[in-house]
Amino acid sequence: MAQTVSEGASLSPAETAAPAAGASTRSTGLATIGDLTNRPQRNLWVDAWRRLRKNKLAVIGLTIVTVFIVVAALAPIIAPYGEAEVVDPRLARVHPNWIFPFGIDANGRDMFSRVVWGARVSLVVGVLSQFIILLIGVPVGAIAGYFGGATDSFLMRCVDVIYAIPQLLLVILLVNWRGPGLTNIFLAIGLVSWVTEARLVRGQFLALREQEYVNAARVAGAGSGSVIMRHLLPNSLTPIIVAVTFGIPTAIFTEAALSFIGVGIRPPQASWGQLVGEGSKAGYIQTDPHMLLFPVLAIGLTMLGFTFLGDGLRDALDPKGND
């Protein structure tokens, strides 16, 4: 029951972007009837890309995400100062100006450089945690969904137990156990969050394995491995892609939240959450709000970008779904 609830809730975002996407689907239909013969065959991805480009919010999201990735990847080139480099202790808490657009922090470090370096931590955590989630969640979900029966019951019971523990608490416990640091953070997020992916893949497989083409493949003599790899997995790809798009900002948020409460990234290293933690220390908020504002905006904008992109991707990849 709780599962249907969360699925329903996560489906609703698609609704908001539906008018635009719906219109584009209609025009596609008309065009295809018109020149069915002389039009080159398009595949799912080209089609999805075309639909995505027509969705204004999705394009904004894609732009934000692209900027974020470029900044994170090129941090050493973009940031004028090193990750923990002190520009000048006498400049501590200087407010934003033309030379230091984001101002200077309490230790005399350039805030702009800190935020840029922080993007790198966020991207690494966001992407690597998804790898772990896929690495564990997809096989577990696939096995449970494909074989069903006792295997399914056992695996899903384990998933239920992990699911019952509030996820953030579990991540905090794990990081606290292994100690702070980048690797332990994305490992902990991955080890906790794969259950959502496993449930998703299992649900897909349960629905797909009864389909006629899967039966046909089985009758034609395909083994379990080949049915899973050639038929079930490719057809479950789009919901997995959408889940990953929403998983990245969730992981970024988790890292920021952990670092904010002081169990995340080790201090000299810059992370958005940790910058927020430093900037929000008593006394600074009122006199030097720039130390808090820029990292908070960076987190907010990144979340916004990924949500827009995720919504758009869902509509673009599944045109049937947004009626």
Binding site: A2, G8, A164, I261, L293, M303
Partner: protein
Amino acid sequence: MLRFALNRIFWFIPTLLAMAAVTFVIMKATPGSPFDVSDKVSPEQIAQLERIYGLDKPLPEQFKTYVWNAMHGDFGVSYSARPQTVSQIIGRTFPISLHLGLMATLFALIVGLVLGVLAAVNQNGWLDYISVTISILFFSMPSFVMGFLLILLFAVWLPDRGIDLGFHIGGWDSPIDWVLPTIALGAAPLATISRYTRSSMIEVIRSDYVRTARAKGLTDFKVVLRHVMKNALIPVITLVGPIFAAVGTGSFFVEQVFNIPGMGKFFVTSMQVKDQTMILAVTLLYGVFLAAMNLLVDLLYGVFDPRIRY
């Protein structure tokens, strides 16, 4: 339905035990003793304290004792705030968190429903766009980002420009201190509710019986109130579970942001000082709370929608 409820409650017991075991194992694996707080405490004193609290016994036995005591309502003494018991501390901090959580939930429900209904009734009109924009903005903002943005706007930026609405940076002393945390915590669930309400309403508005109701000459207001809302709001009930999950974990950071002496803030402190009894109890409490909420929602769903059978 009774059988369904009993079945769920029955399954909850092993889940809770497993939950306690997982937390227990992770916690015990975490290096460092809860009593090793400063250099002033000698290794002998630490050993003695550990003996007093039974931490020198084998782990399975410690776990058994813990579960046995917990079943009798005894969650032990807080290691970091001795001699206060865990129950005392939770009894002091939990009501504050609950208070904040209830306010945030009410805020999210009322504003979310109104926004969702207005958006659906004015589909593709300017009200719709405003509502959708608000919900997508709120939806993607984590509660602590929202909290700091509110603080920066209402407690720093506006007062600097002479508009002092009386908001403080943090604290929990007067009712005005409740406003910003409630908004910060309620924003994300508000967005979920309004999105869900909107799509559910639009679906019902298109249905045949609504056309019939209009055809027999009912006013728009009556149609929306009696026919659309009554049916459209059933699926929204299911959101109460996820909302409590969001509010529960969100209050964690909102309490840090606004310096509210609730359970979430205390949990973070317990984590830093390895107060094992506190950590265990709070984790279990969150788990029980979430599970109870989900069960309640499932049962409510059956009450409101007679088509559902268990």
